[in-house]
Amino acid sequence: MTIIERPSTEVAIAGAVPVGVKPSEALGVFKRPAASSSWRDWVVTVDHKKLGIMYGVAAFVFFLIGGVEALLIRLQLIAPDGKVLNADQYNQMFTMHATTMVFLFVMPMAAAFANYFVPLQIGARDVAFPRINAFGFWCFLFGGLFLNSSWFLGGGADGGWFMYAPNSSTLFSPSHGVDFWTLGLQITGIASLTGAINLIVTILNMRAPGMKMMRMPIFTWMVLVTQFLLLFAIPVITVALFLLTFQRSFDATFFDVASGADPLLWQHLFWIFGHPEVYILILPSFGIISEVIPVFSKKPLFGYPVVAMSGAAIGFVGWGVWAHHMFASGLGPVSVTVFSMSTMAIAVPTGVKIVNWIMTMWGGKLTFAVPMLFAIGLVTQFTIGGLSGVTHAVAPSDTQQTDTYYIVAHFHYVLFGGAVFGLFAGFYYWWPKMFGRQLSESIGKWNFWLMVIGMNMTFGPMHILGLQGQPRRMFVWTEARAGEGLFNFGFWNRISSIGSFILSIGILLFIINIFYTHKMKKGALASNDPWDARTLEWMTDSPPKEHNFDVIPQINHLDEFFHRKYEQDSATHSVTQVHSADEVMAELNAHPDEHIHMPSRSYWPILLALSLPVIGYGLIYNRMLMAVGVAMVLLTMFGWAMEPATSPDEDFDPPESGDTHAKELVPHG
């Protein structure tokens, strides 16, 4: 964890030709990678947009993996005494399902959007630390692969995603699954922490002139809050994971009850991280739909400052509620009361957001393209999940609900109906900007409706199942406890399992839509501003050039782009379009910036990240290998430190052919 960026390695000043160092000689190992259009470019890239796309692709693959795990779970539960999985496999399945979805899908997918769009939204040319950005991505990818490699090396972790001690100790979980889990999360944690520092600095420091904090797009705001949550939450889980690793690998006693340990230590540490984590999962999606709803309502976000501040408030209060996951753990009534109250309090700022979204639509001119459908989907589905959350906050009721399917219903409504719907809104909204083609609206609508219906069929019945007493994490349920009549557990479990397949058809349609759009070239080429949007990322090409903007615009308004296109008569309040998007861009780009200097590609991020799983495997299998990994870390960090962030102009090899991917070295004109 602490081997992330050291200041000593951050020594170059862009533009200042470093004294005495020829970057191409750095360490004498690698010649600095040059621009190219082959896959190699993706390996060494530090471009925030390429990294964003890679984050997105990798996260989506993990989504499918987590989804297939979920489908296996649902298959097992479709009937009593299921035979699809045995107990051991089932326990691994839900543990890895949750871990994959939370840490390898939603978080990195949000990071994908943040990476790609935050610099664009604030009018920057890249993030503050591009190489660290690349390093973060590779840490996520290698951490995720490392974690999933456990499937082939004796089985995945089997302790549930919150991995309560002492069930996670070697005595009770002897396979290496938990070791892969702790180390894998440790590695992806590095990605989150470095990403947090990077994005916060980017947002605070790299805004276009005139882009005050209160003129930032709300997505950027929510990313800012999220990254602060990550900045402070990740170290907490890091401590917990270290303690568990020390316990498992070096016989420390932290969770060894025989030596007097208190298992609640783990629970506290996990949930002090874990609750901020759930807001880490949802806030980016809140941000996305706060972009989408105004665009498709043709109105600014209602109460922009209130929405921004309520996001911050959620982030803040979110630190004081963790023990609501422990109402049955045996805290005293005083603690329970305090945490019950604070949990209820958090519904207030969240409610503010819901209200503001509705008020944004209120009085608008609503069109229902797919992004808007998903956004409305989020508002409705999340509200259901949020309200069941409030019923958990009532601690005595929660002692009836906790660890039943009612909880499973709650968190899938907020996670799937909330976070995932928001991400899908983002896919459809930003796709044309990222890939230059419009996804099919009609397939998109099928995609949406199948997902809504599927998710309500899958997770809706879980409310009933849970309240009727079906506990979670049961590899089988039994007829004996299923109740009688038509609407017994059997019925609802069947509906739920069928629903999950409808849901996956919906998701499959998204994949089909991508093929349809790109492989079959059926998708229309996207204009720069297909949705008549309001924020800066639409004020550039689709897809944007490597340097994002030919000219960094001067910002005078919230929703700058909209204000350049439209004018509102101050007396009649009638709004008229005065410029088309293309006109705005033509005007802006009349005098492009000169000497745009972009950060240079580097081998070091991927190499440094690659050494971390080596340490991981080493810790599990062979301490010699661990030493190799540590040596790799030191070497690559040294190489990194010796390499200036931006190579001086003469260092560039001209690309062999074409010029689309060439460095923007020459004046534009």
């Binding site: 002492p166 979980s173 922009y304 393209a369 660890d403 409310h463 038509l486 609407f487 609802w492």
Partner: protein, 419 residues
């Protein structure tokens, strides 16, 4: 050009959406009506909305209004969204005024939820403290979870001894037996990992954490059998870690206590059961305690399960046949018909039927024999050799003992007399 195409699409779209929207609304109404019907119907044994004792009732009294409030808030939100979608869909109206919000609206719509929540918070706090009270309880039972069954230990102290005649500790498993209308205090703990004790109809759950003792009130208003389930993930057979609370009238309870305390009698010599006693001493008594069982030299046999099992205990089988489920209450000791008879009886007749225990005719031979033949095959347990390395040769659960069918016959006969 794409934008144009999608624009046209969009103009045509709202109607379609609305039609679909309305259809969706209808179905969702229908579904929620169904859901409501179903959730308040049919007796699922672990239904959290059918309290059968004052503690659970307190929770119920609290949660019902909360659910209604949540439902109303939900409906308001849905109606507002639906109305906005319908009323403000693009019908060619002018671009609306670019307002940035009205502070009054913001404040009102923030204060209202805050007030609602305050209204919820106050009774919540009250209930938390009421349920945490322990000073007024009338009897105490120690409950210990381990992989994957519950042990109950009725200590012979204080009011237990004076009022309930528990003159020697009673140790049993799976089914908790308590007198009706008695404020029982459970002292819940664990011998290995975290479990959670939960009888939904009698009270909410409480984790059983190794190294800690948690207190849980339990009280049944009328005789009957109440199902429960371990609700903290505790490893392989978490699903098969169930339990029941049996509430008996005071008279029946006294009978039960007396029976539990009855001295051991060996089976008559020459019977199959006597043969079974021999096998049991050989094979089983190293883990399972049967109080009163004697060695050849006349000393009592004390099982030493801690040498063989991680958690250090196996169920006490002295009165196995007074309970009617076994192995973490996951299988019945009664045949389906006999089970029906006991479980479905009304509160008046229940006690007598329960106290009969398991008779020869009613014994569920199938599941018990399967258990004796190969327990880990029936209930996943870490009892196979590969898993023993991590635990220093100790099992988590009961291993397969490789008994012959003859041995099993005799053991079943022997166990049948354990009541």
């Amino acid at each position: 050009m794409s934008t144009v195409g999608t624009m046209k699409d969009r103009v045509a779209e709202p109607m379609k959406i609305m039609r679909r929207g309305r259809a969706a609304l209808k179905t969702s109404l229908a579904v929620s009506a169904l859901a409501f019907l179903a959730s308040c119907a049919r007796d699922a044994p672990q239904d959290t909305w059918q309290p059968a004792g004052p503690n659970a009732e307190q929770i119920d009294n609290l949660q019902r209004p909360v659910f209604y409030v949540a439902g109303v808030v939900g409906v308001i939100v849905f109606v507002a969204i639906g109305w906005a979608i319908w009323r403000y869909r693009d019908r060619g109206q002018a671009i609306p005024e670019q307002t940035h919000g009205k502070p009054v609206v913001e404040i009102v719509l923030t204060v209202i939820p805050a007030l609602i929540l305050l209204g919820v918070a106050i009774p919540t706090a009250g209930t938390i403290f009421k349920l945490a009270k322990t000073s007024d309880t009338e009897m105490t039972i120690n409950v210990t979870g381990q992989q994957w069954w519950w042990e109950y230990d009725y200590p012979a102290v204080g009011s237990n001894e004076e009022q309930y005649g528990i003159t020697a500790p009673i140790v049993t498993s799976g089914q908790l037996v308590i007198p009706e209308n008695t404020k029982v205090l459970l002292r819940v703990t664990s011998r290995d990992v975290i479990h959670s004790y939960w009888i939904p109809k009698l009270n909410g759950k409480k984790d059983s954490v190794p190294g800690r003792v948690h207190l849980l009130r339990l009280e049944g208003a009328k005789p009957g059998i109440y199902a429960g389930q371990c609700t903290e993930f505790c490893g392989l057979s978490h699903s098969y870690m169930r339990m029941e609370a049996v509430v008996l009238s005071r008279a029946d309870y006294d009978a039960w206590v007396a029976n539990q305390l009855e001295a051991y009698t060996s089976p008559a010599a020459g019977t199959l059961a006597a043969e079974g006693e021999g096998v049991f001493i050989q094979q089983c008594s190293r883990c399972h305690q049967v109080n009163g069982l004697l060695n050849a030299d006349g000393t009592p046999i004390i099982s030493a399960p801690d040498q063989y099992i991680v958690s250090g205990v196996a169920p006490n089988l002295t009165n196995l046949m007074t309970r009617n489920t076994f192995a973490g209450a996951s299988w019945d000791l009664l045949t389906p018909e006999c089970r029906e008879d006991v479980w479905k009886s009304d509160s008046v007749t229940f006690g007598a039927k329960y106290l009969k225990g398991v008779t020869t005719d009613c014994l569920n031979q199938k599941d018990l024999r399967e258990w004796l033949r190969n327990a880990p095959l029936k209930k996943p347990m870490y009892a196979n050799p590969e898993n023993l390395a991590a635990t220093g040769g100790k099992y988590r659960g009961m291993p397969a003992l490789g008994l012959t069918e003859d041995q099993i016959n005799s053991i079943v006969a022997y166990l049948l007399e354990r009541k």
